[in-house]
């Protein structure tokens, strides 16, 4: 059977729309591979990322929309207004599965609208633009979601531009709704929510019934491969036990023990309050409190890993979903805050503003380092989010431009960014493989491009970290291509053949694992080439200088992986 997936192209300036078969050149691409390829092919690297010549591309993975667990992640790509380079931001939630079931491998949004629009895609793939409801202007993502679900029905997935994106803030992401229709799963990184806002696209609404899984070219082959994948998923300790039990927050104690947990604007690598904001403590609190709290929860239909959670207050009423390690790191230890309820409220507010918790936590860390707010002052952080950012006060706008700009405006020299993007909650002086990833991926400081934390070796030793980062970057690129969650990475070792078979069964291809790895390397080179053409030279592929000179407690470590070695990471 020939597989015909489609590409939807929408021009917001003219209102023109075209739905057509995916070009043959893109047949084997999905997720990040497809967003980056389209951006590289169609966006002038010198274009203004917030101008009409930039494009915003949505792409589910190659295997998205199927019944496979954890396979329906959604990639959003474009030129980043935060880094100035190519960007792909990845999210869970329902957008990926709905879009894939509507038959789309990609949606390309071009131009900019004169008035705020909603792009509606029906289950049969037909699409139209409608004026955004007036009540969504200036509203939080929860209120926007409520308005759009009321208007378009409950059987839909939403990708929303929230109030931060509406104000052009570079901390803004694209907010997706989860299975229970919470606006809570973000394509967070790189300021792509500001691109959506600049285009005046309020939301993508994808309607459907979740009963139209994409066809596979070879159904029998698919059945066998799917069986092998599910078996591996059920047996692997990460996917069978770790993530369902304590979610991503479970990694906090590990990073703290290894001395890499950002503490008070990356001034130390261990936080005295780590036990209070750990994954284990989170689980205990959720179980103690009961009510609406859930220790395990699926953010998308069909996910068996269920790393998400719902955190409730002492009365059992939901505060936020989902509590994640990066938020605990950047809004907890990085700000000197060890109050779980406060971090839950920050999560809720960030979801409602539609902002990246890493970039926002990093920027607030700069505000604290500048002495404008005391370390550990949770009430002040709440005000920064709910008043300053939401209303766009001068301080809110400074934070809204991210840690790099905040550092320049406030005169703080120690700013933890690579390509102007805040470093994730793994300090690269202690987790050196991640430092290599931050420097060498085209995406800026983004752990999701190749996280090395699971490697059971000495993370302080600079030896071998370039090779380790490359291995993890290749794996992450492939997971993004497939549409799988990053937490399926362990299965690539135990069930590698199943991954290859799934792709081949879906597409009717005969790719090998080597083919896939080669593709991942080529994609990374393509993305770097875009950055070079955008003016991001090799000098931007490095950590801030102070991370090579200021020792990090408790190991007094510096980042010391040789730059010349990193520069050769994508050589054969």
């Amino acid at each position: 059977m020939e597989i015909v997936d489609k590409l939807l192209r929408v021009n917001l300036s003219s209102g023109a729309m075209e739905s057509a078969a995916l070009p043959e050149a893109y047949r084997l691409l999905g997720g990040r591979s497809l967003t980056s390829r389209i951006v590289s092919d169609e966006v002038d690297p010198l274009s203004d990322p917030l101008g009409p010549r930039n494009k915003l591309v949505w792409a589910p993975g190659l295997l998205s929309g199927t019944t496979l667990s954890s396979s329906s992640r959604i990639s959003v790509g474009g030129k980043s207004p935060l880094t100035g380079g190519i960007k792909e931001a990845n999210a869970g939630g329902e957008t990926g599965i709905y879009l894939a079931q509507a038959g789309y491998r990609a949606v390309v949004v071009e131009g900019e609208a004169a008035a705020w629009q909603v792009l509606v895609i029906e289950a049969d793939g037909s699409a139209r633009l409608e004026d955004a409801p007036a009540e969504t202007m200036g509203a939080g993502t929860s209120a926007i979601a409520a308005s759009l679900f009321a208007r378009y029905g409950q059987q839909a997935a939403l990708a929303i531009c929230g109030p931060a994106g509406e104000q052009g803030m570079l901390i803004a992401g694209v907010t997706n709704t989860d299975k229970e229709r919470r606006a809570s799963r973000l394509n967070a990184r790189g300021g792509l929510g500001a691109v959506m806002g600049a285009k005046r696209l309020r939301a993508l609404v994808v309607r459907g019934n979740l009963r139209r899984a994409p066809a596979n070219a070879e159904p029998e082959r698919w059945k066998d491969a799917a069986k092998a994948y599910v078996k591996a998923l059920r047996e692997h300790p990460s996917t069978a036990r770790f993530y369902p039990d304590i979610g991503t927050a479970g990694v906090l104690e590990l990073v703290n023990k290894l001395g890499g947990l950002p503490t008070r604007n990356f001034a130390a690598g261990q936080f005295e309050g780590a036990a209070k904001i750990s994954g284990a403590r989170m689980r205990e609190l959720i179980l103690e409190r009961g009510g609406e709290g859930m220790t395990t929860h699926a953010c998308m239909t069909g996910c068996a890993i269920r790393c998400s959670n719902v955190f409730a207050d002492a009365q059992g009423k939901e505060i936020a979903s989902s509590m994640e390690f990066e938020t605990h790191g950047l809004f907890g230890s990085n700000l000197g805050i060890d109050d779980f309820d406060a971090i839950a409220h920050f999560t809720r507010l960030c979801n409602d503003l539609g902002v990246d918790t890493i970039e926002t936590g990093g920027a607030i860390g700069i505000v604290m380092a500048a002495g404008l707010v005391q370390w550990g002052d949770a009430a002040a952080v709440m005000k920064l989010l709910d008043e300053d950012i939401r209303r766009g006060t001068p301080l809110g706008r400074i934070i809204g431009q991210g840690a790099g700009i905040a550092g320049k405006v406030l005169g703080v020299r120690r700013v933890p960014v690579v390509k102007n993007q805040t470093i994730s909650a793994y300090d690269p002086r202690a987790i050196k493989g991640n430092g290599v990833t931050y420097c060498t991926t085209a995406m800026g400081a983004d752990h999701t491009a190749g996280n090395t934390i699971a490697w059971r070796g000495d993370h302080l030793d600079p030896q071998g970290k370039v090779a380790l980062s490359r291995t993890m970057q290749v794996a992450s690129t492939l997971l993004d291509l497939f549409g799988f969650c990053n937490f399926a990475r362990g299965l690539m070792e135990t069930a590698r053949a199943a991954f290859v078979e799934l792709v081949n069964a879906r597409l009717g291809s005969d790719l090998t694992w080597d083919d896939l790895e080669r593709h991942a390397v080529e994609l990374n080179r393509l993305e770097i080439d875009f950055n070079r053409r955008a003016g991001l030279g090799p000098a931007t592929d490095r950590l801030p200088e102070w991370m090579t000179a200021e020792p990090l407690a408790p190991h007094n470590s510096l980042f010391d992986v040789p730059a010349e070695e990193m520069a050769r990471i994508w050589d054969d």
């Binding site: 692997h236 300790p237 990460s238 996917t239 036990r241 770790f242 993530y243 304590i246 991503t248 479970g250 990694v251 104690e253 590990l254 023990k257 290894l258 001395g259 036990a275 750990s278 284990a280 205990e284 996280n451 090395t452 934390i453 699971a454 490697w455 059971r456 070796g457 000495d458 993370h459 302080l460 380790l468 993890m472 794996a475 990053n486 937490f487 399926a488 990475r489 362990g490 299965l491 690539m492 070792e493 135990t494 408790p554 190991h555």
Partner: protein, 96 residues
């Protein structure tokens, strides 16, 4: 406090060391455990993990003094060993 005998070798006072063990998972009836173990001098990190019943769990990592160390690293008196779940997928058994 736990005690490890190595084979038939008696764990005599002069031939033993004490290490602090921290376990970030359910262990000995507690969700978080911290305690001391007395082990024969020369006991390695891997042998201690076996003694504690944690060596066979692929999901568990052990950290000595804030760093991953190879299995055959000998322990010293006063060492702190931490047992904790790894995460983020990704197998790599280079040092285990």
């Amino acid at each position: 406090m736990g005690r490890l005998n190595r084979g038939d070798e008696p764990a005599a006072g002069g031939g033993t060391i004490r290490v602090t063990v921290e376990v970030f998972m359910r262990f000995r009836g507690q969700s978080y455990y911290r305690g001391e173990e007395e082990v024969p001098a020369g006991t390695t990190l891997g042998e201690l993990a076996t003694h504690l019943g944690l060596a066979d769990d692929e999901a568990v990592a052990w950290i000595l003094g804030g760093r991953y160390r190879p299995d055959d690293t000998p322990l010293s008196d006063g060492d702190e060993v931490c047992y904790i779940y790894r995460s983020e997928g990704g197998e790599n058994k280079q040092q285990k």
